[in-house]
């Protein structure tokens, strides 16, 4: 397993001008690493639907590279989206899955069949152009640049260390940062899209 922030550190040098959406407990580290925040966006709002929203963004912006860092708990809630994505086959879509095998934000309970699901095979079987699985940081670091040059849709499953939160919601420190609406406004301004 890899520390999630190390996944982001390995990815960031190859990010270029890609629009990046990160979800889940592991995904919060992206804002600590990103050097292009006006092209970062949060698509959360209904668990499992950030994947669909990222697909919509990729379909609407075919000339922009769209990268999603998804989580396995969310993907399991919306697994049919793999077929939806494969069916539309957006060449500009890169779907990373940070798989910590649990619902980290609710105390670390395992997702169904946590350790035994081969998400990369699910994506490949659904019809993604290519799919990969990593559980070693060195392998990921060596490969990620080339993967981002492949035509999408590409799926990349990465086993990450769970960062379990067990405090009641009201006792957790605020993460701050921009709201979804502010990120939408900033991304539209960056891309020259009327609000």
């Amino acid at each position: 397993m890899i520390e999630a922030i190390e996944v982001f550190r390995a990815f960031e040098p190859y990010r270029g001008k890609a629009i990046v959406a990160a979800t889940g407990t592991s995904g919060r580290h992206w804002s600590e690493v990103s050097t292009y925040p006006t092209r970062d966006v949060t698509l959360g709002g209904a668990m499992g639907q950030a994947t669909s929203a990222a697909l919509g963004l990729a379909l609407g912006l075919p000339d922009e590279k769209v990268v999603l860092f998804d989580s396995e708990g969310a993907l399991l809630m919306n697994l049919g989206v793999l077929a939806t994505i494969a069916g539309k086959a957006p060449k500009n879509f890169y779907h990373f899955l940070l798989d910590n095998e649990c619902y980290a934000t609710t105390g670390g309970q395992p997702v169904p069949n946590a350790s035994n699901i081969d998400y990369a095979s699910l994506a490949k079987g659904a019809g993604y152009a290519s799919s990969y699985h990593f559980d070693d940081l060195e392998d990921f670091t060596i490969s990620v640049g080339e993967i981002l040059n492949e035509p999408g849709p590409v799926f990349v499953s990465v086993k990450v260390v769970p960062e379990i939160e067990n405090l009641p919601m009201g006792m957790r420190p605020s993460r701050g940062g921009r709201s979804r609406a502010e990120m939408f406004r900033d991304l539209r301004a960056e891309l020259g899209i009327a609000d």
Binding site: A46, Q49, T51, S52, G56, G60, L191, I193
Partner: protein, 173 residues
């Protein structure tokens, strides 16, 4: 007689024309048994991109992404799928606050009040619970209500539903 019968149905062209007039770029949909003619007609339109989904809840997330990208999506689903989509409608459409027309097949509804499927019983209460306004469309003559729905969605930056009360064939009467 033929003309009279023609006036008593809703032709798929009426919906497709409304989509074009209102600048729709994408229709996100799961086909149902009543909308196949509409589906086939939409596929023929070079200005329209069809996004088939696996489950209706996906449609509202995809719509949000397309809206963020500056596109104009429509969601075309059946009322059964709308019920399934509750949290997506909340989190991806209502909370995001963008114009979205959702065309919803009103399965089980009849204009004389005899409900043929329980889903019809819950359709309008569901929309009321979510605070989503809606317009019932049965015939071509109701076509203006589709444009009204688009205008209202743009003005309020909220979802507005078009309930298709008689799905392209006249069987419900």
């Amino acid at each position: 007689m033929a003309t009279q019968q023609q006036a008593q149905i809703l032709r798929p062209e009426t919906l497709v024309n409304a989509f074009q007039q209102n600048g729709v770029t994408h229709v996100i949909t799961i086909p149902d048994s009543e909308t196949n003619y509409l589906y086939e007609l939409m596929l023929e339109q070079p200005w329209l991109d069809i996004v088939p989904v696996s489950r209706e809840g996906e449609a509202f997330g995809i719509a949000m992404g397309l809206n963020l990208a500056g596109k104009t999506p429509v969601v075309l689903i059946q009322n059964t799928g709308m019920l399934e989509s509750g949290d997506s409608i909340r989190g991806m459409a209502l909370d995001a606050g963008f114009p979205l027309v959702m065309v919803v097949g009103y399965r089980g509804w009849t204009r004389r009040g005899k409900i043929t499927d329980s889903v019809a019983r819950y359709t309008e209460p569901f929309l009321h619970a979510f605070g989503i306004n809606y317009y019932l469309v049965e015939y071509d003559a109701d076509g203006d209500r589709i444009n009204t729905a688009f205008e209202e969605a743009r003005a309020t930056r909220r979802p507005v539903a078009v309930l298709i009360g008689d799905e392209y064939h006249g069987w419900n009467r």
